[in-house]
C-alpha cells in the first residue's frame, strides 16, 4: 500500500486560516476586554478557536484511522508533542527564575545586605524576610502604603501536601492506564483513566479551596506584594495547565468509552496527553518544594 511507505502530505486545508482568525480574535478580544472594552470578541474568538481545534483533531484522528499515517509520520507527532512540552518547561522556568532572583538577589539587596545593599537607602527600615509580610512600601509608609504583604500564608503540610499526594497518585494511575491499554484491557484502561481524571478534578477542587482561603482569611492575594505575586502566578499557571491536562485526559477517556479509539500499539493521542500530565506533575513537585515548603 503506497500510503504505508510514503509520507502523507495533507491536501490543502481550511483549518489553519480559521484557527488563525480564532486565535487573533481571542488575543485581540482579551486585550480589548482588559483595556475596558467589551468581552464579546474574546469569547467569540475562544469559541471559534475551540471549534477549529475540535475539527482539526477530528481530522487528524480520521486520517490515522484511515491508515494514512506511516510510522514515520507518527514520529513527527511524537517529536511535536515532546518539543511542545519543552517549550512549556521554559515558560515555567521564567517564573521559577523570577522567584529565585527575587529571593536571592532583589530582596536581600532591598534589605541592605550584599553588594547592592545601598538599595536600602531608598526603602529605609525595610527588612528582608520570606514570606514577605511587610513590603518595602509598608515598611516605609506604614498605614498609607498601597501594597501590603499577606497576613498569613498557606501551610504546606495541609492542603498542599494532600494535593501533592493526589497529583503524584494520578501520575501513577495514568501510567497503569497506559500499561493496561498496551495489554489490550480496555475496561481496566477506562477505569484507571477515569480515576486519573477524577484525581485531577479533585486536585483542582482543593486548589480552588486553597485560593478561597487565601483571599478570604489570609489576606494572601495577587496584589499582596511579591509573595502573593509569585505564589499566585506560579500556582495559577500550574492550575491552568492541570485544567487543560484534565480536559485532555477526559477527552481521551470519552474517545475510548464512546468511540472505542486506541489500540494496544496505536494510541499516541492518549500517550501525548499522559506525557503532558506527567509534566504538570513534575512542575507541581517543583512548586511544592520551592513555593510552599521553602517559602514557608
Amino acid at each position: 500500500m503506497a500510503s504505508e511507505s510514503s509520507y502523507y502530505v495533507p491536501e490543502q486545508s481550511r483549518l489553519p486560516i480559521f484557527a488563525t482568525i480564532g486565535l487573533f480574535l481571542t488575543a485581540f478580544g482579551a486585550a480589548n476586554w482588559i483595556n475596558g472594552g467589551s468581552a464579546y470578541i474574546f469569547f467569540a474568538g475562544a469559541l471559534a478557536m475551540a471549534t477549529v481545534l475540535w475539527f482539526w483533531f477530528a481530522q487528524v484522528i480520521r486520517e490515522n484511522m484511515a491508515g494514512l499515517n506511516s510510522e514515520q509520520l507518527k514520529r513527527s507527532y511524537v517529536w511535536g508533542m515532546g518539543w511542545f512540552i519543552f517549550s512549556e518547561v521554559m515558560f515555567f522556568a521564567a517564573f521559577f527564575g523570577a522567584l529565585y532572583y527575587i529571593r536571592n538577589f532583589a530582596l536581600p539587596w532591598l534589605g541592605g545586605e550584599g553588594d547592592r545593599g545601598t538599595s536600602n537607602m531608598l526603602w529605609q527600615g525595610f527588612e528582608n524576610t520570606w514570606p514577605l509580610y511587610v513590603t518595602p512600601d509598608a515598611a516605609v509608609h506604614g498605614d498609607a502604603a498601597k501594597i501590603l504583604g499577606p497576613k498569613e500564608i498557606i501551610d504546606p503540610w495541609h492542603l498542599p501536601l494532600l494535593n501533592t499526594v493526589i497529583l503524584l497518585s494520578s501520575s501513577v494511575t495514568v501510567h497503569f492506564a497506559h500499561v493496561f491499554l498496551k495489554q489490550g484491557k480496555r475496561s481496566a484502561f477506562n477505569l484507571w483513566l477515569a480515576l486519573t481524571v477524577a484525581l485531577g478534578a479533585l486536585f483542582l477542587f482543593f486548589q480552588a479551596e486553597e485560593y478561597y482561603e487565601a483571599y478570604k482569611h489570609l489576606g494572601l492575594t495577587l496584589e499582596s506584594g511579591i509573595y502573593g505575586t509569585t505564589f499566585f502566578m506560579l500556582t495559577g499557571f500550574h492550575g491552568a495547565h492541570v485544567t487543560l491536562g484534565t480536559i485532555m485526559l477526559l477527552i481521551m477517556l470519552l474517545r475510548s468509552v464512546i468511540a472505542h479509539h486506541f489500540t494496544p500499539d496505536d494510541h499516541f493521542g492518549f500517550e501525548a496527553a499522559s506525557w503532558y500530565w506527567h509534566f504538570v506533575d513534575v512542575v507541581w513537585v517543583g512548586l511544592f518544594i520551592f513555593v510552599y515548603v521553602l517559602g514557608a
Binding site: S6, P16, A31, A94, I102, I147, L222, E223, G225, I226
Partner: protein, 516 residues
C-alpha cells in the same frame, strides 16, 4: 499527492505546501522590511539636523520602538523561516515539512499579529514608545494603553515562532532521506536545527516576561515594583535571557546561508565542515549564559560583571572559527563574484566589524562609556544589516533561479549590491564616531557637534532604502520571466536542491532520493 496548486487566492489561504508557505513568509518579511525601513527613514529624517523639525519626540519614540519590533519579529525572523520552509525539505530530500497544516497556521498568524501591532499607531495615547526592549517600568507604569495590544501581539507571534520551530525540528530529525546522516546535512539545515532549538527555549520566556508586564499593569502584581518587593531589574534579566539567544536566532541561519554560497563561488568544498557544526552549537550554548552583558550599567555585583564579561568574550572563539573557515574556503579558490557571492563576501567582512565592536562592548568597564550611545546602535546594525539582511538577500539571489526557473538580472543585482553596500556603510559607520563621542541613542535631538556625521548617516540611510527598491524590481522581473535557469543554476553547486529541475516542481522528493 500529484495535485498541483489550486487557482486563485484560496491556494495561499489553504495551502499545505512548503514552497507556497515559504514564498508567503518571504513576501511578508519584505513588506515588513519596507514598513520598518520607512520608520527608520522617519528617524533619520528627524536626525538630519539638530533640533526638532519633522516629528514630535513622542512620535519619534514610537518610531524607534516600532522600527525595532518590526525589523526583529517581522522582517528578519520570518525571512529566515521562509528560507527554511523553501530549502530544508529540498536539502534533506523530504516531500514537505513534517506538519504541513501547522506550517500554514504558523505563517498566517503573523500578518494578523502585525496588523494588531501596527494598529496601536492609531490608538489613543499612541503606539508603544518604550523601545523595542520595553524595559519596565517605562513599559508598565508609564506605558500608553496600547501596551496591552502590544503584549497580546507578542504572545501570538511567539505561538507562531514556537510552532514553526517545532515543525522545523520535526522535519530535520524525522524526514531526512535515507543516508542523510546528521553530519552530512548542509550547514543551513544544521544552523536552523540549532536556531529552532533556541527559539523553543526562549520564546516561552518572552511570553513569560510580557505576561508579568500584563499582570503588573492590570492585575496589581509586583514583579517589577520595588514597593511590593519586586525589582525592575528583574525585567531586564528575564527579557535578556530571551533577548540574547534571540540575537543568535537572527544570525545562525545567516551563517548557514553564507556557508552554502561561498563554496559554490569559490569552487571549493567548505573548509572545516564539522568545526562549523561544533562552533554553531557552542555559540548557541554560550548564548544562554551571557545575557547580562546588556545590563553592565544597571548595577550588578562585580562577580556578575566579570562572569558575563568573560563568557561574552568566549563567543569570539567559535565565531572566529567560522570566519576563519569562510576565509580559508575562499583561499586559492577559483572565485567569481556573482551577486550572491558579493553579498556573502560583504557579509564576512562587515559582520566581522560588527563582531569586533561587540567585543569592545563586552569589556564591562569600557561598556560604561559606550552604553546606550550610538556606538551600540552602530554595533548591532553592523551585525543585523550586513549580517542578517545581507545573508537573506544573498540567499534570495542564490536560490531565486531555483524557485522561479529564471535567472535574475545580474547587472541589476550588482547595482543593488553596491548601492546597499555603500548605503549601509555610510549610514552606520559614522555612528561609531558619534557614539564614542557620547551621542545617546533614542533621542530625537542632539548637540551641534554631532551634526555632520548625522547628516552623512541620514543620506546613507535614504540610499540604502532606495537600493531595496532595485531589489524588489529585480525579483518581480525574475518571477515574471527572464533567461531560463538550468537545474544546477551555478557551476557545480553542492546539495540535493540542485538535483531537481528549475523551477522546482510543486512537490519534490515524494519518494526519498538516495544519498551517498
Amino acid at each position: 499527492m500529484a495535485h498541483g496548486p489550486q487557482p486563485g487566492f484560496k491556494r495561499w489561504l489553504y495551502t499545505t505546501n512548503h514552497k507556497d508557505i515559504g514564498s508567503m513568509y518571504l513576501w511578508f518579511s519584505f513588506a515588513m522590511f519596507l514598513l520598518g525601513g520607512c520608520m527608520a527613514l522617519v528617524i533619520r529624517a528627524e536626525l538630519f539636523e539638530p533640533g526638532l523639525q519633522i516629528v514630535q519626540p513622542e512620535f519619534f519614540n514610537q518610531m524607534t520602538t516600532m522600527h525595532g519590533l518590526i525589523m526583529v519579529f517581522g522582517a528578519v525572523m520570518p525571512a529566515f523561516v521562509g528560507l527554511a520552509n523553501w530549502m530544508i525539505p529540498m536539502m534533506i530530500g523530504a516531500p514537505d515539512m513534517a506538519l504541513p497544516r501547522m506550517n500554514n497556521w504558523s505563517f498566517w498568524i503573523l500578518p494578523f499579529a502585525f496588523a494588531m501591532l501596527a494598529s496601536t499607531l492609531f490608538m489613543e495615547g499612541g503606539a508603544p514608545n518604550f523601545g523595542w526592549t520595553f524595559y519596565a517600568p517605562l513599559s508598565t507604569e508609564y506605558a500608553p494603553p496600547s501596551v496591552t495590544f502590544f503584549i497580546f501581539s507578542i504572545h501570538i507571534m511567539g505561538a507562531s515562532s514556537i510552532m514553526g520551530s517545532i515543525n522545523i525540528i520535526a522535519t530535520i530529525l524525522n524526514m531526512r532521506a535515507p543516508g542523510m546522516t546528521l553530519m552530512k546535512m548542509p550547514l543551513f539545515v544544521w544552523t536552523w536545527l540549532i536556531t529552532a532549538y533556541l527559539l523553543i527555549a526562549v520564546m516561552p520566556v518572552l511570553a513569560g516576561v510580557v505576561t508579568m508586564m500584563l499582570m503588573d499593569i492590570h492585575f496589581g502584581t509586583s514583579f517589577f515594583s520595588a514597593a511590593g518587593g519586586g525589582d525592575p531589574v528583574l525585567f531586564q534579566h528575564v527579557f535578556w535571557f530571551f533577548g540574547h539567544p534571540e540575537v543568535y536566532i537572527m544570525i545562525l541561519p545567516a551563517f548557514g546561508i553564507v556557508s552554502a554560497i561561498i563554496p559554490t563561488f569559490a569552487r571549493k568544498p567548505l573548509f572545516g565542515y564539522s568545526s562549523m557544526v561544533y562552533a554553531t552549537a557552542s555559540i548557541a550554548f554560550l548564548s544562554f549564559i551571557v545575557w547580562a552583558h546588556h545590563m553592565f550599567t544597571v548595577g550588578m555585583p562585580i562577580a556578575g560583571e566579570l562572569f558575563f564579561m568573560y563568557a561574552t568574550m568566549l563567543i569570539a572563539v567559535p565565531t572566529g572559527v567560522k570566519v576563519f573557515n569562510w576565509v580559508t574556503t575562499m583561499f586559492r579558490g577559483s572565485m567569481t563574484f556573482e551577486t550572491p557571492m558579493l553579498f556573502a563576501v560583504a557579509f564576512v567582512i562587515l559582520f566581522t566589524i560588527g563582531g569586533f565592536s561587540g567585543l569592545m562592548l563586552a569589556i564591562a568597564p569600557a561598556d560604561f562609556q559606550y552604553h546606550d550611545t550610538y556606538f551600540v546602535v552602530a554595533h548591532f546594525h553592523y551585525v543585523l544589516v550586513p549580517g542578517a539582511i545581507f545573508s537573506i538577500t544573498a540567499g534570495v539571489y542564490y536560490w531565486l533561479p531555483k524557485w522561479t526557473g529564471n535567472m535574475y538580472n545580474e547587472t541589476m543585482g550588482k547595482v543593488h549590491f553596491w548601492l546597499a553596500f555603500v548605503g549601509l556603510n555610510v549610514t552606520f559607520f559614522p555612528m561609531h564616531f558619534v557614539g564614542l563621542a557620547g551621542m545617546p541613542r533614542r533621542i530625537p535631538d542632539y548637540a551641534l557637534q554631532f551634526a555632520d556625521f548625522n547628516q552623512i548617516a541620514s543620506m546613507g540611510a535614504f540610499l540604502f532604502g532606495a537600493a531595496q527598491l532595485v531589489f524588489l524590481f529585480n525579483v518581480i522581473r525574475t518571477v515574471q520571466g527572464g533567461k531560463k535557469a538550468t537545474a544546477e543554476v551555478w557551476d557545480n553547486p553542492e546539495g540535493l536542491e540542485w538535483t531537481v529541475p528549475s523551477p522546482a516542481p510543486y512537490h519534490t522528493f515524494s519518494t526519498p532520493p538516495a544519498v551517498r
